[in-house]
């Protein structure tokens, strides 16, 4: 398990207390799980993602991520419609471990309420929540 100071938390993303991240990309928002989450889960073996077109509210469960020993719900930090899903994760779930913020992205959402992004945590605030755990 990584120490807090070993965690990778990019500046260009915002974070949720549930250990998801989001960042804007070409008019939509990419969503995935943080370095802390993938480290806690261990080797990821399966990611269960929704269909394109599915609509979720902020905080709603949109899928699950599994390691050999645990399952975690994935809750979207932003409400909106799923416009894309990372198909590569079906054959290579390990991308979430290796590269959680880039090739390990999970879904991309067209959001309803832009202010929801601002309401997410910055990297420092997220780190603070991790210290409490």
């Amino acid at each position: 398990m990584k120490e807090l100071n070993e965690l990778h938390l990019p500046e260009d993303a915002r974070y949720s207390e549930d250990h998801e991240w989001a960042k804007p990309s070409n008019g939509v928002y990419l969503i995935g799980i943080t370095d802390y989450a993938q480290d806690q889960l261990g080797d990821i073996v399966f990611v269960d993602l929704p269909e394109v077109g599915a609509v979720f509210q902020r905080g709603e469960e949109f899928g699950t991520v599994e390691s050999t020993k645990a399952v975690s719900e994935l809750c979207t930090p932003l409400g909106g419609e799923v416009v894309a899903v990372n198909a590569k994760l079906e054959d290579a779930p390990e991308l979430v471990n290796q590269d959680p913020y880039e090739s390990g992205w999970m879904i991309s959402i067209r959001i309803e309420a832009p202010e929801e992004y601002g309401e997410m945590l910055g990297r420092e605030e997220y780190l603070e929540t991790l210290k409490g755990l």
Binding site: D43, V45, F46, E66, S67, T68, K69, P93, E94
Partner: protein, 484 residues
Amino acid sequence: MNRFPGAAGLVFNEPLLWEKGRPGRTAFSLPRPDVPAAPLPEELTADGPDFPDLSEPELVRHYTRLSQWNFCVDSGLYPLGSCTMKYNPKINEKQAARPALAGASPWLPEDLAQGALKLMHDLERLLAHITGLPAVTLQPAAGAQGELAGMLIIHACQRERGGQRTKILVPDTAHGTNPASAALCGYQPVGVSSGPDGVLTFEAVASVMDDRTAGIMMTNPNTLGLFEANCRSIADLVHERGGLVYMDGANLNAVMGIVDVAALGVDILHLNLHKTFSTPHGGGGPGAGPVCVRSELEPYLPVPRVMEENGRYRLSEDFPRSIGRLHAFHGNFGVMIKALSYILSLGPELKTVSQLAVLNANYLRKRLAGVFHLPYDRPCMHECVFTDRFQRPHKVTTLDMVKRLMDFGFHPPTIYFPLVVEGALMIEPTETESKEDLDLFIEALMEVAREAAEDPEALRRAPGLTKVRRLDETAAARKPRLCG
């Protein structure tokens, strides 16, 4: 190292069944056809599945070699928590193999089945006596199916009472089957946190027990090996607010002849014949999960029930409020024979069984305290829970330690359960382990702890003496290969 059971030894490689054999061989003495061949329409028939053909000597060698790759209770200490891996008496196997019992069809006319029905009835009466709960079904095929029966009974009872109860309280120490069984019955499990002493508190239950809650599932002693001392007041509270109390009896080995389960306020209890009552686990079953209930709940028990009148036995489905049938026939009769044999062989000494089970666990606790972190440093019952907290500074985990323990010739205890404790190591020795074997086990664990501090790599390399080393479970899950 040579005073410990684990030793290097020649073990055989053995291919998979379909990597052996030759077409045309068989290990079966085929009966000679004494009737003419009767044709079947071609569109219905096929050539049969792609099975290997083996001769009898090949079959024997195959399974003999496979068996030698298994650690088992017969070979050494198998201290899995809440599993009660006690000695499985061989004489009980003989009883279950009696041709008249083994060969009996479940459809035998009543007149020809009296002995079998009496056997079941006798076992029911004995379990009723041991638990204090008078009405019993032997039908559920495992503890989890017993839990399902319990949930269905609660559901049926609550429905008759009226009201809309959709929740079941499940302690954070509960075995995973508990919330799964509740959910199968349409209930929403609501978690209750154990208190700082490792047991449920009245206040914690009171804060969640409402008129939308059908009841509570408790394990007593719980999976931390602690007696749920507040169980009476909790049961009274749950009853007062219209709920029912279910007890998971997996840990009954700690309290036979000592605790009156009915006096705990329990309405429904399941037992595990393959734990407390010595029937063999068989690598994962079959077991049996009888359910015992208070007399008010008797009408809900699954059918068929075994009835006795003037020394005559029969099966009856005439119970209109029953939750229905759970098993194709009457339950795992072969397992019941073994459990009955065990109970008859111990008699009142079942109490000694529990006393010695608790003695053995406390002995381990006392001797290992200080070597491993004890989250609840107080007397335990039949099992005790340690953690890897002392070893974590060396970057050694519970998993690493138990893999190394294998090389000493011991099966690991349960790991990472219960979930309330991080890095849990849950040890249940049972009463059939001698002091000398426990002493060796303790020494081995101490050795592992020493290695954790002085040579952690030795743990991470372990096991070294087993037929295979650590296996890649990640690859197995990412690209499942379930079939050859």
